[in-house]
Symmetry: C2
Subunit: 259 residues, 2 copies
């Protein structure tokens, strides 16, 4: 039986809320066994852009990443957020290391080809360096990954943090019995986005497809859920979506996904 | 005989000059054997502060690091510069990892106590985690350290890059036969700051002290040189100060320091 590994992703809304972030980090630090944290960016990159005098263009929630934008997201995701999270986890007794995909060649990506939309410096993941991540985990060092990858040709690339989490979980599942946990500002997948008590406790692929057909799933959740089912198909053992509280022992309100 | 290790530091003026930086990185990538890079910050942090609408206060070339300043230097040093350098070195075939002192607890520091001057979030180095740096080097991964450390209590600290380089070299010299190389915009220690041909090729502590007494050494060089002699006294085998060209084979114009 392979060792268990947890890959936990926290979304931007958790990052933006200092009290929620601190509470999450405490729970994350208490998790026993091998683990990896992946964090999103939150609103700080956009706020910094505004201060610098330019207005990032978003298409369906994705940032068109110009030369200026890649500098800003590198500063905010790989610099400010990543290092603050690492310093806080060190305080909590977790030896952590902050990584972009360029560090140790952790995540190699390729620049998304411009089709109808040119997303600019946005990367699609090619390869997760699972042996490198394993070497850190085996030394008792927890990797903390931000949403920046590289193309091996000297360029940094803005990359969706949900996708990083699922690709990392997939790659690690050849080495560990891997669990993927998405933490965001809701209690789980809701049938009514305004009603936190409408959490779907168990969601399998066929019920997911039916709910999608009925348009009962919020459109913003669909890429996240596609990532989750993709991970399950590629041998990730368990996928959970919920609030940061899912890391607490015996907390039971979240969505568990199965095939 | 212990393995050789080179600790190379590049200054802010090299970072600020893209052509000089690229040329330096090519030479650094060609260096054989275990190595560590430490980089300064350059002007970008100050430029970013100005864009954000505040004006950092400098005392004797040192930044008074307020809450706003530590965010800016973390973004610029640990984010933008560090990750750009790592991505470029990956392109050049060097597997590198960018680190702040918080990452892997690489460098623990303490906040400088406020005396006549309160420097704010500025750190004095307590301990370099030489075993962690060794574990990376032994895996063939080159650490790239920026000028940010942490206090173990959740705070990031702005820390002089020259001091980081010398303290890292000192710590590594218990494990390796360590050489410390400072690369900056001059050819070496000059007797006449306006004359690049006035390089002192060999400088020992007694001639350094005489030149200091005669005020023949530029005041900005004194903390750097004090760091160098300190490193030599603590078993660093060799210390060199020169232009980025000192990394080129057979380049002979630089200052070699001896006790």
């Amino acid at each position: 039986m392979a060792t268990e590994l947890k890959v936990v992703k926290i979304g931007g809304n958790v990052i933006d809320n200092p009290a929620m972030l601190d509470s999450f980090l405490k729970d994350f630090a208490s998790l026993e066994g091998p683990k990896i944290l992946v964090h999103g960016g939150g609103k700080k990159a956009t706020e910094l852009s505004h201060k610098m005098g330019f207005y990032p263009q978003m298409v369906e929630g994705r940032r068109i990443t110009t030369d200026q934008d890649i500098e800003v997201v590198t500063m905010v995701y790989a610099g400010l957020i990543n290092k603050s999270v690492v310093a806080k986890l060190q305080k909590l007794g977790n030896n952590t290391i902050g990584l972009s995909g360029a560090d140790g060649n952790a995540i190699l990506a390729s620049k998304r080809p411009a089709k109808t939309i040119d997303y600019g410096w946005v990367g699609d993941i090619e390869k997760v360096n699972s042996e490198f991540l394993k070497s850190l985990v085996e030394q008792g060092i927890t990797p903390v990954l931000c949403a920046i990858t590289h193309d091996g040709d000297g360029h940094l690339l803005n990359t969706n943090a949900d996708t990083i989490a699922s690709e990392v979980a997939v790659a690690m599942s050849t080495l560990y019995n891997t669990q993927l946990i998405y933490c965001f500002e809701k209690q789980g997948v809701l049938t009514d986005v305004n009603d936190e008590s409408s959490v779907i406790l168990e969601l399998n692929e066929s019920s997911y497809n039916s709910l999608k057909d009925e348009q009962a799933i919020h459109s913003g959740m669909i890429p996240k859920l596609d990532n989750c089912f993709n991970a399950l198909k590629k041998n990730v053992r368990k996928v959970i979506i919920g609030s940061p509280d899912v890391l607490k022992k015996d907390y039971k309100t979240f969505t568990a996904l199965t095939l």
